[in-house]
């Protein structure tokens, strides 16, 4: 009996979360299209999300590209000789379709989602959100909307740069370690690069950026109970946005490439 009660409680809590999140998303979106908007704040968030995430995302991308080239070469060498074309193909397809958006998304979730949750959570527990309201400033407009817009716009840009850096990483390993012909590698890369692959990756990135900002803001906004509550909000933001990123990664892949 106790066990059933426990299950019931967990399910109710989960449904409560879904409800609150849906409400939060709806409110935030409705504020996206109603003035006033704060270009200054959007700009600051864009710099925070886009520019300051570049080193992390760039490093992730270059090593992913390098390891992809190395792995696919050693992997393919077991089956067939002359796997040079295949290496360039694997690098470009897996980076643009999958690894670019997913890895960048996860890295940015750790960096930006966590800091959004911590910042807004601290504002919540120190009554700064209440102070905003009494100064006739809507916290959704002032805090959430700029982050959502910046996240949705900047992640595709980051992923685009990550794609380039990653492909370059693959090129470096292929040419300097595996001894491929550079010109042939580049022309192979061009041949295998499909616009749809890149576009699907950028669409994913936009969705992931939205998810990261949404979960960061949502967790912070609903945090309670001092430092511990803010800590929990931060963890929650990173974990939930990571899971949602992986889930939506599958869904979007299915939409683009599923038969």
């Amino acid at each position: 009996m106790n066990f059933l009660a426990l299950i019931g409680r967990v399910v109710l809590a989960f449904l409560g979360h879904i409800g609150r999140l849906t409400l939060f998303t709806g409110t935030a979106l409705s504020h996206c299209v109603r003035p006033p908007i704060y270009p200054r704040l959007i700009g600051r968030q864009m710099i925070d999300i886009g520019y300051y995430s570049l080193p992390v995302v760039g490093l992730t991308a270059i090593f992913s590209g390098m390891v992809l080239a190395l792995q696919s070469y050693t992997g393919f060498a077991r089956f067939a000789a002359g796997s040079e074309n295949a290496v360039a193909n694997v690098v470009v397809v897996s980076l643009t379709r999958e690894l670019g958006p997913v890895l960048a998304g996860l890295m940015v979730a750790g960096r930006i989602g966590a800091s959004m949750a911590a910042e807004i959570g601290t504002m919540r527990v120190t009554e700064q959100l209440d102070a905003l309201t009494t100064l006739s400033t809507n916290p959704y407009k002032y805090l959430v909307v700029p982050r959502l817009i910046a996240g949705t716009l900047m992640l595709p840009l980051l992923v685009f740069i990550a794609d380039i850096i990653g492909i370059f990483g693959g090129f470096v390993v292929s040419v300097y370690k595996l001894g491929f012909n550079p010109a042939a590698y580049i022309s192979n890369t061009y041949d295998f690069m499909q616009p749809l692959d890149v576009i699907s990756g950028l669409v994913k990135a936009g969705v992931f950026g939205f998810i990261i900002a949404l979960m960061g803001c949502y967790s912070g906004y609903h945090s309670k109970g001092g430092a511990q509550g803010v800590g929990a909000a931060t963890t929650n933001a990173v974990v939930s946005s990571s899971i949602l990123i992986l889930t939506f990664n599958y869904i979007i892949t299915e939409l683009f490439f599923g038969t």
Partner: protein, 261 residues
Amino acid sequence: MNSTENTVPKISLKDVKKSFGAKRVLDGVTLDIAKGESVVVIGGSGTGKSVLIKSIIGILLADSGIIKVDGEDVTQVQASARESVNRKFGMLFQGAALFDSLPVWENVAFGLMQRERMSRKHAKERAIETLAKVGLSAEVGELAPSELSGGMQKRVGLARAIAGEPEIIFFDEPTTGLDPIMADVINDLIISCVKQQGITALSITHDMHSARKIADRVTMLYEGKLIWDGAAADVDRSGNPYVEQFVHGSAEGPIKMQVRR
């Protein structure tokens, strides 16, 4: 006396109730505050004074009862209209609640820039003027809130509350954490807001000296109800044992502190 200006109270609470879970904090609060009047709420720690103010400004939603501002029932207004109601309010939070991502002057100028769309330059001038009123220099305006002492933060909070020249100001313990001299400067500032600018003020304080000075009327919150309401001059001869105990700060009396010895 038949002009509505004089008969409609600025703030009117009727039977306001608020609970947190099973814990009843406000248990039927009824209070009218006239325009330009300064009312002080006294009461023990944790009796719900801050909750009372937060319910009026809509940060907390009262469970039942009617809260009217200028005759308009604010418990019924839509979220969008709420912003225009909030325009009438200035609020000093008990914990100051300064925006720590903004420098001090932007905190003070926040309402001016957001509500009144004042330019940054103008707003900054006004912020520095307002900071001077609470005894803070223009250099303090450039600091971050985290670089200030508790009392300085409180004064910045005060400056932020009055900068927009609202119609109604709520002061949650304006003099707590200030030295006696600065406390008196703040008292005078509050008096000048009310007397000269005709602002309506609802303050919370534990400082009886301050209460006597700034209040036209004093009311005491005890166990969720306002158990006494009278002119500030009468607090010392209220004839109410609860008020007397509070005013004299005595451990002996009808109010029992929940402590173990």
